[in-house]
């Protein structure tokens, strides 16, 4: 599927490709417009659907006409809908999960804009039985392999240390796995943890974890809506092989000021929101900080007093409606982890993202979205001791400009298309030292690349019972100078060294990525869905440790490293029961991965200029079946997820070139989530997880080298850690409902059975039984109770 462009593509050619893409887009638009001109007796109803209390736009709300077969229009990421119908009198039904359905009488004799505000069940303090169309959305939506969550879905799920965490919650969904207690790195359908496209308001978040992976970077206070695509990725997403986690930040209330927050055992949070100008614009500011180091300061020990150990997050979002057709959004994230020992060393790392976005409604059918996006992940390491003095700085940085359009052509076709350019910079390490240090100052060459992409996709409903979303994404990657580039052969031996000047092209890769998914609705309660998608990836993460370390190395596709590619097919059956109270789905998938990057047995990845000589390449395959049963409404709700799967890799030079299980391969993975509203003020909840142990390599034999017992390994990942399971419990007590103030207590118990789940197994000489060896299992967390007090003012 990869066509390699001639090696030395010039910028002129590059610009030509872009302009051809642009021309095609314009041509297509023209054809579609002409097509539209013939449909004379129809008019378009469009507008924005918002929450009545906060003015937040609602994503995925439905607007449809009563007594028609058509399933209506669904709002896009910015709450915009467009519906083309015959002229005359109609009743418009507007609905969204958890909101009271609104019905409006309309008289349509010209193109009309109607903005609608829905009242949430939460505001009414009652459980709203939503309109049918939005309740059966999982059956009717053409998208396969997608899970959507909002903060309400996760607020009652018990969590580690009482920190609501979206990544820890999505790990409870089928097809999503983790490799242990202390890890927010997640694995989707056999892909690596670096193969997830994690977006915060469109900006790539490179390292989604805090504190070596105990917590995620997403402060759930600041999050509005989460979509996880495991298969059938829409064409507007690209750059990663296995999944898309699209996180949207809360816009803030544009009607009233409010503050909310929480005080917990490990961290505290505070959030402010309110109108900039009432009904015109709003802001949201949210902050979170852990305070383990506050306890360190209380310590009598002077070294501990001067130590640091904390992380914080800041989320900021503001929007302003310039007029009826233009909205500007600005959102940003800044997070940092710091760890240090007084006079010894200090290290910190974190992500920064910023998104500036302009929504423009060109006409009642064409919606435009222009974004300028910045993302940065960096770390700094300092060692202060005179003889080991060193300062290492490293970063990965992206500038991204993109233009997206949505064109609501007619009720049977919605087009999405757009293009974007990304500039990537990877600075692997700037090392500076003092005169007395054991280390030299050194700069490992910074790498630059451009990535340009264009896509078009059509959601087409040829029959009332059939929806097909088909599209194509084109991705062009260009590694550019300046720098000295080494070429290595398959054995890692240097074969060529070339030096390039600034902007000179070193290597280009072009990938065409077809995407198609289809949904056949058998009856309003059941449907069959299928999809195929092809993805490519040019940024790779190298890590040879179990934990997610801040110093894990990013590399880009190069003269040595080819882009990773993945093909995935999936097939699913969706069925709702009992008046849509229960939803059931099952999906099977098969995924082929190519150009997977691994490293040689003795690879040295830290501050290594020639790291590309240490790499090995191979293929992977992953397949499995996922089952999901969810109860959506009522006093009791929750879900059961089960995944049966296999994930394997085949790398030249490892395991004699045979397939071996990837570390994240888990045969069985079960999760149960239950939330029960005991009364209006008491909610109890429980989570149970069970999974086959990770694939690990145990020794097959042993011998003696240099006076030490040494282990002999013959097959990679042929063994298993013991299975792990865990029960978490939670209780939420809501305080009395005051007019402007509300508080609640959340108690949780992590690992209620105090089960010692395996984190690692090491082999060593037995202490008690000399001349024998023993396997020692380490477990991280036993039972951990936590309490959080949450409050809200408005």
């Amino acid at each position: 599927m990869i066509a390699l462009l001639p090696k030395r593509i010039t910028y002129l050619q590059f610009v030509n490709i872009l302009s051809i893409a642009k021309l095609l887009g314009v041509l297509l638009l023209f054809l579609l417009q002409t097509h539209f001109l013939f449909a004379q007796s129809q008019y378009t109803l469009s507008g924005t659907i918002k929450d009545a209390a906060t003015g937040e736009v609602l994503i995925g709300a439905t607007a449809r006409i009563e007594n028609t077969a058509s399933k209506g229009a669904i709002t896009n990421s910015f709450g915009f809908y467009s519906l083309t119908i015959t002229q005359g009198e109609h009743i418009l039904l507007v609905s969204y999960i958890g909101y009271k359905t609104d019905s409006l009488k309309i008289s349509l004799h010209k193109d009309t804009r109607i903005n609608i505000e829905l009242v949430s069940g939460h505001a009414l303090n009652e459980i709203v039985v939503s309109d049918k169309s939005s309740r059966s959305d999982n059956v009717l939506n053409p998208q396969i392999g997608v899970n959507k969550l909002n903060t309400n879905d996760i607020k009652d799920v018990p969590v580690f240390m009482g920190e609501k965490d979206i990544i820890r919650t999505i790990e409870l969904l089928p097809g999503v796995k983790t490799t242990g207690d202390a890890n927010t790195g997640f694995y989707v359908r056999g892909g690596g943890s670096d193969e997830n496209l994690i977006l915060l308001d469109g900006a790539t978040v490179y390292n989604p974890s805090h504190l070596f992976g105990f917590f995620s970077t997403f402060n759930s206070d600041a999050v509005k809506d989460i979509s996880l695509y495991k298969g059938g990725m829409p064409a507007q997403y690209g750059g990663r092989l296995s999944s898309v986690l699209d996180v949207r930040m809360d816009d803030g209330n544009n009607k009233d000021y409010g503050a909310e927050g929480g005080i917990g055992l490990i961290s505290s949070r505070i959030k402010f929101e309110g109108p900039i100008i009432k009904n015109k614009g709003s802001f949201m500011l949210s902050a979170r900080r852990t305070y383990a180091d506050v306890f360190l300061k209380l310590s009598g020990d002077s070294t501990l007093k001067g130590s640091s150990l904390y992380f914080y997050d800041l989320n900021l979002k503001a929007n302003y409606q310039l007029d009826d057709k233009n909205i500007i959004y600005l959102s940003g994230y800044f997070g940092k982890d710091a760890i240090g020992l007084k006079d010894n060393f200090a290290t910190n790392w974190g992500n920064t993202t910023a998104t500036l976005r302009w929504n423009h409604i060109l006409n009642n059918k064409l919606f435009s979205n222009t974004s300028f996006i910045y993302s940065n992940y960096n770390y700094v390491i300092n060692n202060f001791s005179a003889t080991s003095n060193i300062n290492v700085q490293s970063k990965i940085e992206d500038f991204n400009l993109k233009q997206d359009y949505e064109y609501f052509l007619n009720n049977n076709n919605t087009l999405s298309f757009g293009a974007g350019v990304v500039h990537h910079t990877i600075m692997p390490g700037n090392i500076s030292t003092t005169q007395t240090s054991s280390y030299n100052s050194k700069t490992i060459q910074t790498r630059h690349a451009y990535e340009a992409n264009a896509y078009i996709s059509d959601s087409w409903q040829p029959l009332n019972s059939l929806t097909i979303v088909y599209g194509l994404r084109a991705n062009f990657f260009n590694l550019v100078g300046p720098g000295t580039f080494n070429t290595y052969n398959a054995d890692g031996v240097l074969t060529n060294v070339s030096t390039y000047s600034s902007g000179q092209s070193i290597q280009t890769y072009f990938n065409l990525e077809p995407r198609i998914s289809a949904n056949y609705v058998i009856n309003p309660q059941s449907s069959v869905k299928a999809s195929y998608n092809h993805n490519s990836q040019n940024i790779h993460l190298l890590s040879n440790s179990t934990s997610s370390l801040p110093t894990d190395l990013y590399v880009m596709s190069s003269n040595n490293i080819k882009p990773g590619v993945a093909d995935q097919v999936s097939l699913g059956y969706y069925r709702n029961f009992k008046d849509d109270q229960f939803e059931f789905s099952t999906e099977v998938y098969y995924k082929w991965l190519k150009n997977e990057v691994d490293y040689r047995n003795d690879a040295d990845l830290v501050a290594n200029e020639t790291v590309e000589s240490q790499l090995l390449y191979g293929v992977g395959r992953a397949y499995g079946a996922e089952f999901f049963l969810k109860k959506k409404y009522g006093k009791f709700n929750g879900w059961i997820g089960y995944t049966l799967s296999r994930t394997e890799r085949k790398i030249d030079g490892i395991n004699n070139g045979n397939y071996f299980p990837a570390r994240q391969d888990r045969t069985h993975d079960v999760s149960l989530v239950g939330v029960y509203n005991l009364s209006k003020r008491v909610t109890i909840s429980a989570v149970f997880v069970y999974g086959t142990g990770n694939a690990v390599t145990y020794p097959a034999g042993k011998y003696q080298i240099g006076g030490l017992t040494t282990y002999y390994y013959n097959q990679r990942n042929a063994n298993r850690l013991p299975a792990d399971s865990r029960l978490d419990l939670g209780v939420t007590l809501e305080g009395k409902q005051h007019k402007r103030y509300h508080s609640s207590w959340n108690f949780s118990i992590y690992n209620a059975f105090d089960r010692m789940n395996p984190y690692s197994v090491v082999f060593q000489d037995s202490a008690g039984k000399p001349s024998h060896t023993e396997a020692v299992e380490t477990s991280l967390f036993g039972i951990i109770p936590a309490v959080t007090w949450n409050f809200k003012f408005k």
Binding site: I705, G706, N717, S760, E777
Partner: protein, 263 residues
Amino acid sequence: MNIRVLLMFYLLAIVLLSCQKVISVDVGSSAAQLVIEGNLTDHQGTQTVTLSKSVPYGNANVYPAVTGATVTLNDNTNTTYRFTETQPGTYTINNFKGRALIFYVLTVKAEGKTYYGGSTMQFPTNLDSLTLISQTFGSKSVINVVVNYQDPANIANQYRFVMYVNSVQVKQIFVENDQLSDGRSVSTTLYQHDIDLKKGDKVDVDMECIDGNMYNYWNSLSSQGGNTPQNSATPSNPPSNILGGALGYFSAHTVQRKSIVIP
């Protein structure tokens, strides 16, 4: 690199709640394989090659000696030096030393097969001194030994350190190269958690200047223990410089010892 070790140390310190237990594991088995351990130093004296067999994981740490083998050493003048078996599995040559920059080839004929290993004797780098560093982690004060030496500029140097506390070897591999410290006056802390150092303990440190292949060997071996955060996620066999399919190594290296007593 020290930073990595420190970071790991901290990660482990965070995980104060962690708990450890001995478990029984189901491991595969492997046929016994020849293990060659050949050392040639720059000190006039006895040079030793030991031959043994690996055993299945579940066995006791008793490694059968391989007897009756023919062990020879060749230098650049194509002179062959023959080792004699002085104890079962131990082959020695007396009054011999390796000379700097000579590439030596070890040949072992055992059980009907022939194995070759090659290694280059390095120029010695002087181990200037041993010093001590005391660090406080929580309420615990930990003493570690620091090796101090001047790395020669503009050539690749690799070092291995072997530490003994009151003549008991510390069960840890210490290996360094000069990728980040070429030509510097280097102080490297030999972090270890095998034997806690106490007042009055005598610590001996051997510094070996080893060749590049041996650095890769020891470096890979040092991260082999298991799938812990400080070790490689996927342990594997170190890249041996022995041709013919045996485990182990042949290393020509310098050796210099310094001692310090914990005050």
